[in-house]
C-alpha cells in the first residue's frame, strides 16, 4: 500500500512536471464547453446540465485514452521501466499507480468543465447528484482506461498517438457527446448505443437526473468493458512476455 502511494506520487509528479500535458488534458473539453455549450445552451437549465455532463464524459474519455495510451507506450520505450522491475516490488504498485494517476488526470480534466458549468451557465445539480455524477464518471472511465492500457501495451509510441487520436473523436461524435441527446441526428441515434461513450454518458446523465440508461446501451457498455479488459490483459501479458520472460 505504501509502495502504491509512492509509485502514484512519482507518476503524478512526472506528469505534473510537464504542465502542457495537464493543459492538453483539460483544454479541449473546457474549450468545447466554452465555445459551443455556453452560447448555445447556457441559458437553458436542462440543456446546459446535460451538455456539461456530456463534456465531462468527453473529458473522462480523453483522459483514459491519452493518459494510458501515450503514457504506457512512452514508459515502455524507456530503460527506466525495466529498472523499476528490479526494485523489490511486484507489478501491482506500478500498475495500480497507473490507474490512480489516470483517475487524478480525469479529475483535473473535468474541473474546468465543472467550473464553466457552474459560473457561466444555468446548469444545476444537487450535491447528491454531483456526487452520483462523479461516481458515474469514474465508472464511465473504465472502458476508456482499459482501451488506453491496451493501446499503450500493444503499440509503440508513434502508433499509439495515431490510434488514440483516430479513436477518440469518432467515439465522442458517434456517442452523441457533441450533439443534443434529446434530438440526435439519425446516424448518431443509430450507432450511439453501440459505443462505450454513449453508455458512459447515459450513466452520467441519469446521475444528474435526466433519463434512465437504456438496456441496449448498458449491455454494450458491459461488452466494451469485457472486450477492452481482455485486450488490455492480453497486451500486458504479451509485452511482459516479450521483454521479461
Amino acid at each position: 500500500m505504501a509502495l502504491l502511494l509512492t509509485h502514484t506520487r512519482y507518476q503524478l509528479l512526472e506528469t505534473v512536471r510537464v504542465p502542457i500535458a495537464l493543459v492538453g488534458n483539460a483544454f479541449f473539453p473546457g474549450a468545447a464547453m466554452l465555445f459551443f455549450v455556453v452560447p448555445a445552451a447556457g441559458d437553458h437549465p436542462v440543456g446546459a446540465t446535460i451538455a456539461a455532463a456530456s463534456m465531462m464524459t468527453f473529458s473522462v474519455m480523453t483522459s483514459g485514452l491519452f493518459t494510458h495510451g501515450l503514457g504506457v507506450a512512452e514508459d515502455r520505450a524507456q530503460p527506466w521501466d525495466p529498472y523499476t522491475r528490479t526494485l523489490p516490488a511486484g507489478p501491482w504498485p506500478r500498475f495500480g499507480a497507473r490507474i490512480l494517476t489516470a483517475l487524478g488526470m480525469t479529475l483535473i480534466g473535468i474541473l474546468p468543465v465543472l467550473a464553466i458549468a457552474v459560473f457561466l451557465t444555468e446548469a444545476t445539480a444537487t450535491p447528491l447528484q454531483l456526487l452520483l455524477g462523479l461516481g458515474a464518471l469514474v465508472v464511465g472511465s473504465i472502458p476508456f482506461q482499459l482501451l488506453g492500457l491496451f493501446i499503450g501495451y500493444a503499440l509503440p509510441m508513434k502508433a499509439a498517438v495515431a490510434v488514440v487520436q483516430l479513436l477518440f473523436f469518432p467515439m465522442a461524435v458517434g456517442g452523441g457527446l457533441l450533439t443534443n441527446p434529446m434530438d440526435p441526428p439519425a446516424f448518431i441515434a443509430a450507432v450511439a448505443p453501440f459505443l462505450p461513450s454513449r453508455g458512459a454518458a447515459e450513466l452520467v446523465w441519469a446521475a444528474v437526473g435526466y433519463n434512465t440508461p437504456r438496456p441496449l446501451t448498458m449491455v454494450m457498455f458491459g461488452v466494451w468493458i469485457v472486450v477492452a479488459g481482455a485486450l488490455a490483459l492480453w497486451a500486458y501479458r504479451r509485452d511482459e512476455g516479450n521483454r521479461f520472460s
Binding site: 509502495l3 512536471r17 527506466w80 522491475r85 526494485l87 516490488a89
Partner: protein, 324 residues
C-alpha cells in the same frame, strides 16, 4: 557443445554446483555464502542463443568482473540474476530463492541504463523513490557525496550532465544498502577522472563487505576493480579465474609463418594451417621462436601479433585438450 562450458581456469564453475568450501578463494573469507547462482542456464531469444548452458556462482565478498564482447551474453546473465528475464532452461537463484520474488530482491541493487532516468524528477526524488522500496536505506547525503553528486539534490535529472547521470544511475544501485550489486557497464561514457572516482566508490562498498558483479568490455576496468574475472563469449564461460590468471591468458600471441611440417614446439596453445601459412597461438612467443630457430626448420615471413582477449579465449575453448 557437449564440453563443459568453462574454460581452463574454471574449475569451480565447471562443476554443476560448486560447494563454497571447494573454492580456492573460500579460505580468505569467513564462511562465504553463495549469493547468486546460475545452474546450466540457457536463454534463447527466438533463434538466437544468448546463454548456452552456463553455470556460475557468486559468493559473498567477491568482486566479480564479467568480461566479454558485446553480444556475449553478459547483460542477459545479469537480467536473469535481477529477475528481469527467466531462463529458457536451467535454474537461477538469488539469495537462496527466486529472482522473481521481490523479497529476494531487497538484498540487491541494480544500475539502470543512464539514458532512462526520468528527466523531470529531481535527484533527491529519484533517490527517495528507490529508497522507498527497501527496508533500510543509506543516508542520501552521504551516498550522493560518495558519488560526487553533492549539492545536486534539487536539480532535475534532465539538467544533469551525461557523467552526472551515469554516476547517479550507479549510485541508485547502492541506495537500498544491498549485499550484492549488479553494475552493467557502470563507467561507459565517463571521463578518466569520473571513472576513477566511481571505481573508488565501488571499492569502498566492497571493502565494507559488499559483493559486486560488474560487466565491462574494458579489460582495464576489470583489471582495476575485479578480484575474480569471468570471461563470457558466445553465451558460455570461457575462463574464470583471478585477475592475474586472466591477464596471463590475455598475453596470448599469434605467431604466423610459412613453413612445412613443424616439430613439436613448446607452449603452443593451438596450431592452424591456412594454405601455406601456419598460425600458432602461444603465451610465450619468445620461447617459441627460440625453439623454432634451434629446431633448424626452414621457415619464412615470421610474424608475431597480439591477439584480442576474445580471440584468445575462443581459440582456447575451441580446443580444450590443447589448452590444458
Amino acid at each position: 557443445m557437449a564440453e563443459p562450458t568453462a574454460g581452463p581456469l574454471a574449475e569451480s564453475t565447471a562443476a554443476p554446483v560448486a560447494a563454497p568450501s571447494t573454492d580456492p578463494a573460500a579460505g580468505t573469507r569467513a564462511r562465504p555464502e553463495t549469493l547468486a547462482r546460475a545452474v546450466g542456464v540457457t536463454r534463447r531469444y527466438g533463434d538466437v542463443l544468448a546463454l548456452d548452458g552456463l553455470s556460475l556462482d557468486i559468493r559473498s565478498g567477491e568482486l566479480v568482473g564479467l568480461l566479454g564482447p558485446n553480444g556475449a551474453g553478459k547483460s542477459t546473465l545479469i537480467n536473469l540474476f535481477v529477475g528481469l528475464r527467466k531462463p529458457s532452461s536451467g535454474r537461477v537463484e538469488l539469495l537462496g530463492g527466486s529472482p522473481a520474488d521481490p523479497a529476494r530482491r531487497r538484498g540487491i541493487g541494480v544500475t539502470p541504463q543512464e539514458t532512462g532516468l526520468p528527466a523531470t524528477l529531481r535527484v533527491r526524488e529519484v533517490v527517495d523513490f528507490v529508497a522507498a522500496h527497501y527496508p533500510r536505506s543509506v543516508e542520501r547525503g552521504a551516498l550522493l557525496e560518495r558519488f560526487g553528486l553533492s549539492g545536486l539534490e534539487r536539480r532535475q535529472i534532465g539538467g544533469l550532465s551525461g557523467g552526472q547521470k551515469r554516476r547517479l544511475a550507479v549510485a541508485l544501485a547502492f541506495v537500498g544498502d544491498p549485499r550484492l550489486v549488479f553494475l552493467d557497464e557502470p563507467t561507459t561514457g565517463l571521463d578518466v577522472e569520473a571513472r576513477r572516482s566511481l571505481w573508488e566508490a565501488v571499492r569502498h562498498f566492497h571493502a565494507e563487505g559488499g559483493t559486486v558483479v560488474l560487466t565491462s568490455h574494458y579489460l582495464e576496468e576489470v583489471e582495476a576493480l575485479a578480484e575474480r574475472v569471468v570471461v563470457i563469449g558466445q553465451g558460455r564461460i570461457l575462463a574464470d579465474g583471478t585477475t592475474a590468471e586472466v591477464r596471463d591468458i590475455a598475453g596470448v600471441r599469434r605467431v604466423t609463418l610459412t613453413a612445412g611440417d613443424l616439430p613439436e614446439l613448446p607452449g603452443v596453445l593451438s596450431a592452424e594451417r591456412d594454405g601455406a601459412r601456419t598460425h600458432l597461438l602461444t603465451t610465450d612467443a619468445d620461447t617459441l621462436v627460440r625453439a623454432l630457430v634451434r629446431a633448424d626448420v626452414p621457415f619464412s615471413d615470421l610474424e608475431i601479433r597480439p591477439t584480442s582477449l576474445e580471440e584468445a579465449f575462443i581459440t582456447i575453448t575451441a580446443r580444450p585438450s590443447r589448452a590444458a
